[in-house]
């Protein structure tokens, strides 16, 4: 009989524990879990005052520092073991990159990208006479991929005399062909890991190249793992920069929170917006970051874009939210 109260207490506890766990709204638990672990930076804005107006800038700041912590927690993209590639020079650049030389990583990437483009052109060439029709079309196109084949390209393309221009382009194509002889594309994981390394350790240019021109393959998914990593990593990288006062990062974040892709606002003639694709829309966050950008030394062209976007997203906010956002700092 002395055990009866204990047994009753256990049974009551069982009932309470069971009922609490089963009948608490699953959405609440799910959202908490998502916020804590899975959601990328873009989704971190789900915590924002747009959706939960009671939270103020303090919460945003702590969410941002969560982002920094999450970026540090992300493992660096794996780099497969080095094997001899098509080019001893590329192999040497890779060795230097693996030892922490960001400039070598960037050079490896540029050379790989250049030779990949040349390879794509050569695969479709139907003549041996240089410059080939494909090469001329490629270098005349507005595609940054082909424009970056050689820094002197705009100058060559602007030569007025057609014979002279063809001759110059022919010798450029020959030089590029020589450089890229025997080119064999490297696994996407190598290219991605070196690009991430260059972005993390290298110059601002390397950083923004990683953000604005993700080292990924179009469609399907030979590199789905790299694309998933980029979609998680890039927003966190830009957030961390923006928090440290980088105006370009503030602008990029504002843009990304405002739109999903460049086609939404064709009048702005924006380049492709990969960061915007990876970050969910959040008018309040967009309004904050764009206003922050405008309070600094804004580039006039970007300022014009920011103003337009502020007008657009501002219409979705209350006067109070707008007033607070104009004073906001991360």
């Amino acid at each position: 009989m002395r055990a009866l109260p204990a047994a009753i207490a256990v049974l009551l506890g069982l009932a309470c524990g069971y009922a609490y766990t089963r009948y608490t709204a699953p959405g609440d638990r799910g959202q908490a879990a998502t916020g804590a672990s899975d959601s990328p930076a873009g989704n971190a804005s789900a915590d924002s005052a747009t959706r939960t107006p009671r939270r103020g800038p303090r919460t945003i700041a702590s969410a941002a520092s969560d982002s920094a912590a999450r970026l540090r927690e992300l493992p660096q993209p794996p780099l497969p073991p080095a094997t001899a590639s098509w080019s001893p020079l590329q192999d040497s650049l890779r060795r230097r990159a693996e030892a922490g030389d960001a400039a070598a990583a960037a050079e490896w990437l540029q050379r790989d990208s250049r030779c990949y483009s040349m390879n794509a052109i050569s695969l479709r060439d139907d003549s041996t006479e240089l410059p080939t029709r494909n090469f001329v079309q490629a270098v005349s196109s507005a595609s940054p991929r082909f424009q970056s084949l050689d820094p002197g390209l705009p100058e060559l393309a602007a030569i007025a005399d057609e014979d002279e221009r063809r001759k110059a382009l022919g010798s450029l194509q020959q030089r590029l062909r020589d450089e890229c002889r025997d080119y064999a594309p490297q696994p996407p994981s190598v290219r991605y890991a070196l690009a991430e390394m260059a972005a993390r350790l290298g110059s601002d240019k390397d950083f923004w190249r990683f953000i604005n021109e993700p080292p990924l393959v179009a469609n399907y998914s030979r590199d789905v793992e790299q694309a998933i990593d980029w979609a998680r990593r890039a927003p966190l990288m830009v957030q961390e920069r923006a928090r440290s006062g980088d105006a370009d990062a503030a602008y990029a974040l504002g843009l990304a929170y405002a739109i999903d892709n460049a086609r939404e606002m064709p009048d702005l003639r924006l380049p492709p917006q990969y960061l915007a694709a990876a970050i969910g829309n959040d008018p309040l966050q967009a309004y904050r970051w764009l206003n922050l950008y405008l309070r600094g030394n804004a580039d006039p062209d970007r300022a014009a874009v920011a103003q337009q976007l502020i007008a657009r997203v501002g219409a979705q906010l209350s006067a109070e939210q707008r007033a607070q956002a104009q004073q906001w700092s991360p």
């Binding site: 506890g13 069982l14 309470c16 089963r22 595609s143 179009a218 998914s221 980029w230 969910g280």
Partner: protein, 365 residues
Amino acid sequence: MVLSRSAASVLLLAACFATGIAGGHWIALHTAAPSASPANAGDAAVATSVAESAGTADPTSTNTAATAAVTAPARTLPLPPRSEPIAAYYDELLAQARAGDGAAGRRLADDLYECANHSRRLDAVENLLDGGRGRGMRGGGGFAPAPGSGGPRSDGPRRNDPSFAERRLEVAERELQRVQETEKRCAGIEARQQVDPAELIRAAALAGDAQAQLCYALTPNDWKPDVLSPDWVQWSERWNQESPQMIRQAFENGLPEAAVVLSQMYTPWQPRDARPWNGRLGDDPYWAYAYNLVAQQWLGSPMQQRGGGNDFVARTAARLSSSQIAQAEAWAAAAGQRIRFQPRPAPGPGMDSICDRVRRAAGFR
């Protein structure tokens, strides 16, 4: 410190109560009723089918023993004709899909995909009529500067060719007619659509429908076109884990087109390859050769007409010993006896959905 007898009893009762709470929490977590969502229903289905096929459908060994086919649940009800408006059968197919009917789920996913892409197809028609100056259906949504997106367009000189312009106009008119038919079929669907076609095709694949398995595994970004978004990340992580097994199950369920895909997945990717899944399962000439034998046996001439079929066989065979070739031939013959392969469907007006197109395209090397 010495507790009084009553305080000790209270503490004991509290401890019992706390233990009970913990136990109740544990029981609740481990006896939760399965969700009725298609995705979760699918998880259960894949768990079953993966368990059934473990060590059999996975061709990582050169074992030629017969493997157990993963059979899709038999479907007794015929699917409605494609000419019918979707609203007329939407509820019925959705109920069947939710009850685990993979064919119904695939058909509905197919239909909803078609409706969702209606405006893109209209853009494509406009682009065609505009002389191809636009940016295509995806509006340049790919990753522009990265390697892998092919070379420059080379139809410039043809644009001035009157017959080329005429042909383009014909294509645009045909496509416009299709778009108008789609518009009629999709009338009233947007308002009642409550399911994500992407989750529906995945659930159909997990439920064992062979064509859905191929369709889900080969076109992930068609089902989730918002590439890089948080939603896409979640989708792609699952897809990345599930898709190779899906192709194997499609093969075991009798789609000979899956044999072509598996052969390509065991063949290293090369810049000329139009198939991005090449090399996904590594470089294994034995399995590339063996699956190709099955494909040739059941799909025959179309592979050869496209060229490369015989070249591929010769190239791959050159990397194998004669005993490996004999073993692969025995395995392919056994697979042909073990699996009841479906005949290649005849092209026609009823063969225009995304999954039909995926199946047709997958059958070519």
